[in-house]
């Protein structure tokens, strides 16, 4: 177990190192000089040079890469070119929107997907199953930004049950915060729930064909008892993989949704930073997202072990 964790940890570190090079390289070739963007159309050359020096843009690329990486290792993500505040601070603020949103969406999608998937698996081939499977097919096919648009149109503009967007802030209480994250979370969660429900169902169906399910029935467990006691936990293994993938997707992929609901989250930060050529912010946020994805995958791997004792003892 420890060895397993350690090995994963090392490959995690390696992945991060390679990722940092790739990100830096991609962003370096981006056209558009941050300094001239900031100073606008009438900037004087000497002003520009002064600003470039101030931003640390006047050193060579490798040097800049090293500065960036060593800064990050020390917890210093640099200073935003445009906002002139520490990137770490900005990211931390945004994280308080993106992370709860991702968790909220993930919780919603899990809460929807589990019962639905189990229901469908238990009624395999019956009308209930077919209806659920049809609905999930549709759920997968719906682009989430389009879904978000429709949600806003219906629930915010017409019914006015929710705010059309924006974030009330956690200072106004948990409820206010959650309320403003509800529509975005639904927009993110439903298509994901459709995928998760399908995975849950097919994993369960696979498990239902296993010998030990027959053994359980032979002990006197009813179909339902066997499904819950022996099926669900085994089915968690493939389901966990998907949840892991989805979390990364939700965290990173909410860019568009944050855009639709104008939430001050990480996704919007990246978008703004890209269009403002705030390279240091882009680099750091993307790096952070990669870090999050890799870490989540690592945690998922560890979670496997919690679910599956076979992995635990693989010393």
């Amino acid at each position: 177990m420890l060895r397993y964790a350690l090995k994963r940890l090392i490959s995690l570190a390696l992945s991060l190192a390679v990722a940092s090079v790739v990100i830096f390289a991609v962003i370096e070739v981006a056209p558009g000089d941050p300094a001239s963007f900031m100073l606008g159309v009438n900037a004087q050359p000497e002003t520009l040079a002064a600003l470039r020096a101030e931003l640390g843009l006047d050193v060579s690329r490798p040097q800049r890469y090293l500065n960036w990486v060593s800064g990050m290792l020390a917890g210093d993500f640099g200073t935003s070119y445009t906002y002139r505040t520490p990137v770490a601070q900005m990211v931390a603020d945004r994280l308080w929107v993106s992370l709860p949103l991702a968790l909220y969406a993930l919780t919603l999608s899990t809460l929807i997907a589990f019962p639905v998937g189990i229901y469908a698996a238990a009624r395999r081939g019956k009308p209930g199953d077919l209806a659920v499977m049809g609905a999930t097919q549709l759920g997968i096919a719906v682009p989430n930004f389009w879904f978000a648009m429709m949600l806003v149109l219906i629930f915010a503009i017409n019914l006015r049950w929710f705010n059309a967007g924006g974030f009330a802030g956690w200072d106004n209480g948990l409820w206010a915060g959650l309320h403003s994250l509800t529509l975005p979370a639904i927009a993110l969660a439903l298509p994901q729930a459709a995928i998760l429900a399908r995975v849950m169902r097919s994993a369960l169906l696979d498990i239902l064909g296993e010998d030990f399910m027959r053994t359980a029935r032979a002990k006197g467990l009813s179909r339902r008892q066997a499904l819950w006691r022996h099926g669900v936990r085994n089915a968690l293994i493939p389901v966990l993989t998907i949840i892991g993938l989805q979390f990364s997707f939700l965290l990173a992929g909410s860019i568009i949704i944050e855009q639709v609901f104008y939430l001050p989250g990480l996704g919007r930060l990246v978008f703004q930073a890209i269009s403002a050529r705030d390279l240091i912010v882009v680099e750091s946020v993307v790096m952070l997202l990669v870090f999050a994805v890799i870490t989540v995958n690592f945690l998922v791997d560890l979670a496997y072990a919690a679910v599956d004792p076979r992995l635990r003892s693989r010393t």
Binding site: S11, L14, S15, V18, A19, V22, V26, I27, V29, A30, P31, Q137, L138, I140, A141, V142, P143, F145, W146, M149, M150, L153, I157, I195, R198, V199, I242, L245, S248, F249, L251, A252, G253, I255, I256, Q259, G267, V270, F271, I274, S275, V282, V286, L289, V290, V293, I294, N297
Partner: protein
């Protein structure tokens, strides 16, 4: 043949036929502006209505299908053409540095939040269909590499591969002669699924303005253009949205149906 397969094939072929038909015929010139006639709801002249420039939506949807299909197809093609050989090679040299390199490379690509990178790539290299293809294609490579490797590994354990080795065949030859044909079904099915994901991805990129550029019509961009007008011209958003849904639904049903039809045992990853 299952109902899913028939329905999926029907929906997908309607879309494909529409795209093909658009090369020779559309009701109107999809690019012709007619500002006095803008924002008409669906009617007898314009079946899907007109957009904010008075263009015929039906013609735009037809030509847009072309864009979506082309971008997704080429992206999946890239993913498969590069991913499958990598997967075969990794499986053939299981446990070697090559395998390790390929798999770690895969993990790395997987570790990048795909949408962010797609946005980054198109933002850096400029928006446009070609860059969208590359951005989507890159993330298809590990999908195909991984699935090919997984299937190939279990095939390498099979005795008929051992028999081929006893017959003196090398890894490359075995991969081509024995492994590839046996993973082909899997690749086709996964390809269909990736194709549908590609269409969604293209729509997403176009929606944020990083996909195909005007005047090439694209469903995602039609949605973006429609955004502010849904409240008074809902057809602008509904129609491209439904076009995407129908296409993706059709392809997914086709993929699922094909999988059941070709081989009930193979498992397809959908992520």
């Amino acid at each position: 043949m299952s109902r899913a397969l028939i329905l999926g094939a029907a929906l997908s072929s309607v879309v494909v036929l529409m795209a093909l038909l658009s090369f020779v015929w559309t009701p109107y010139d999809h690019a012709a502006l007619n500002i006095p006639e803008k924002l008409q709801p669906p009617n007898a002249q314009h079946w899907f209505g007109t957009d904010h420039f008075g263009r015929d939506m039906f013609s735009m949807i037809m030509v847009g299908a072309r864009t979506s299909i082309a971008v997704a197809l080429v992206a999946v093609g890239i993913g498969m053409a590069l991913g499958a050989p990598l997967g075969l090679a990794a499986a053939a040299r299981k446990g070697s540095w090559l395998d390790e390199l390929i798999m770690r490379g895969n993990d790395l690509v997987f570790a990048f939040p795909s949408l962010v990178i797609a946005i980054l790539i198109t933002a850096v290299f400029g928006p446009g269909a070609v860059n969208a293809i590359i951005a989507i294609g890159i993330f298809n490579i590990p999908v195909f590499a991984r699935i090919t490797r997984g299937a190939a590994l279990s095939l390498w354990e099979r005795e008929f591969i051992l028999a081929a080795r006893v017959a003196g065949k090398g890894a490359a030859r075995i991969s081509a002669e024995h492994i590839l044909p046996n993973v082909a079904n899997l690749l086709i099915v996964q390809g269909t699924i990736q194709f549908s994901l590609g269409i969604l991805a293209e729509a997403g990129l176009s929606y944020v303005g990083l996909g195909a550029q005007p005047p090439t019509p694209s469903w995602g961009r039609m949605l973006a253009d429609a955004q502010t007008m849904v409240s008074f011209a809902p057809h602008l958003a509904l129609i491209p949205g439904l076009a995407i849904i129908v296409t993706v639904l059709g392809l997914n049903l086709l993929g699922d149906g094909l999988r059941d039809w070709l081989d009930p045992r193979i498992r397809v990853a959908r992520a």
